[in-house]
Symmetry: C2
Subunit: 285 residues, 2 copies
């Protein structure tokens, strides 16, 4: 396929009355990577340097969960509900095995998809995310909430939430913002209802369980690549270390001078790391 | 140069009456990487897949500190003393700028070299190591001490100390052991005196300071790559996370199902990660 991040048409597939929006591009070889997006984000919240970078040697599928951005249906208000939509969507495309790249809330959903449907998944990338009931995930600082819930998100929200406060990181944030707006027909923003439902899912995921914290992580037997910035103010970075320590076959990469959106600050380096990871099986590690 | 790990002659350079042993091979282009070895280790305790892998596009210099293995002189009994030998050695070779790869004790020394002589160093790789006064670095489990201090170290010591107890990791350990013995004229073992001096240096480095723990890490302004295995029983893995969090420009990679010697378990993957890091400046990150 010669389509790219900026040219791939938004397509739809319907399952049980839910019309899921997605885009597919990249080469036809290898296992497709399904991208699962952050709180309120849609098809155009990804970095074209990441998506096109991975699409060079595998199919890339960007996906809006039910009720999010251009997808129809009611937004799920639990991570499990979102995971079931992902599974229904992948099944509807007729795919028997996919890789997942879950960012933030999308990383919660990716973990749940693996637990619900382990045979459907080959490799998993978890970016800027954390385990159920992770450290400091049961609350968010008021300023984070303020930026994350602005009715119409602006550049300053992303610069604050996704990047570190250094000049370098802020400049990288502005460059990301420009890249992600180069596509002409941008996906529609998510509704206020979607924000509410996702907010509920995130709050429930953050609750620290009374017993056997992190038990589910041991059940993830897949190769997992955990990545984050050095100082993530949305999902504290220590949670990336915890994911690595508890998931039996997990690799960790933490990038310097960066935050929640580190994969958009170092897109080329992240793509190099992701490709080494995704190709690992072939190379024997 | 067409010499390799197995063919490069052991050379010597003398400074102030100390005759340092080293080997140099690899291409003549780019910044040389000076390898700083672990407790008691000499020129042949490295993995040829790591050294030859990095030597493909840069000079590699393996080095024995004073009094270690085939080097002459008295072994230093402090990390600072060892760092000064490294600086004297690099100066004696006429090199104005080098990269460092410090493994375990060699990683303590690498940090100290950077602090003592920042302009001499470009990039630093810290493998299986930790900061001065790091977590759990003020003592070692008795079984670790027993394996680490055997008069003539054997395969079982390395399998216990450097690898995880899984079948995969143990098999990787045996493969490493074979690779590292493929060179015919092996470096001599370190003396008991060297073991004692290095043991004192390690013990002093492990003491938790009363004030301003980790303060020196903030003074390291160089690009640093920190790597380790998921469960290092010699220098607990949390210290790799601490190094990344405290050194301003540090990247962290942690490998799954592995220990202290993770770079010898995943030599090709580590070389890929190291090359991305060492070439980062050229690529703009």
């Amino acid at each position: 396929m010669s389509e790219t991040h900026n040219t791939a048409k938004t397509r739809f597939v319907e399952v049980d009355g839910v019309r899921y929006a997605y885009r597919r591009f990249g080469t036809a070889t290898r296992t497709p990577v399904v991208f699962l997006q952050h709180f309120r984000g849609g098809l155009d919240n990804w970095d074209p340097n990441v998506t096109d970078g991975l699409a060079k040697d595998r199919p890339v599928i960007l996906f809006n969960n039910a009720g999010v951005a251009s997808s129809g249906g009611d937004p799920a208000d639990t991570v499990t509900g979102m995971a079931r939509h992902v599974i229904a969507f992948v099944d509807a495309l007729g795919l028997k095995k996919v890789d997942l790249l879950g960012f933030s809330l999308g990383g919660f959903v990716a973990q749940q998809v693996v637990l619900e449907s382990p045979d459907l998944i080959r490799h998993v990338i978890l970016a800027g995310t954390g385990p159920q009931g992770g450290e400091g995930m049961d609350h968010m600082p008021p300023k984070v909430v303020e930026h994350a819930t602005r009715e119409k998100p602006i550049l300053e929200d992303f610069l604050y939430l996704f990047f570190s406060q250094s000049e370098t990181s802020q400049a990288a944030g502005r460059a990301f913002w420009e890249r992600r707006h180069t596509r002409l027909d941008q996906d529609v923003p998510s509704s206020v209802a979607a924000m509410g439902a996702q907010g509920n899912a995130i709050a429930a995921w953050g609750i620290v369980p009374q017993l056997d914290r992190y038990a589910s992580l041991r059940r993830i037997k897949h190769p997992v690549l955990v990545v984050n910035g050095a100082d993530d103010i949305m999902v504290p970075t220590i949670n990336s270390f915890i994911l690595q320590q508890r998931i039996p076959n997990a690799t960790l990469v933490i990038y310097p001078d960066s935050g929640h959106g580190a994969i958009f600050q170092y897109p080329e380096l992240f793509v190099s790391h992701a490709r080494l990871f995704l190709e690992g099986e072939r190379r024997g590690y």
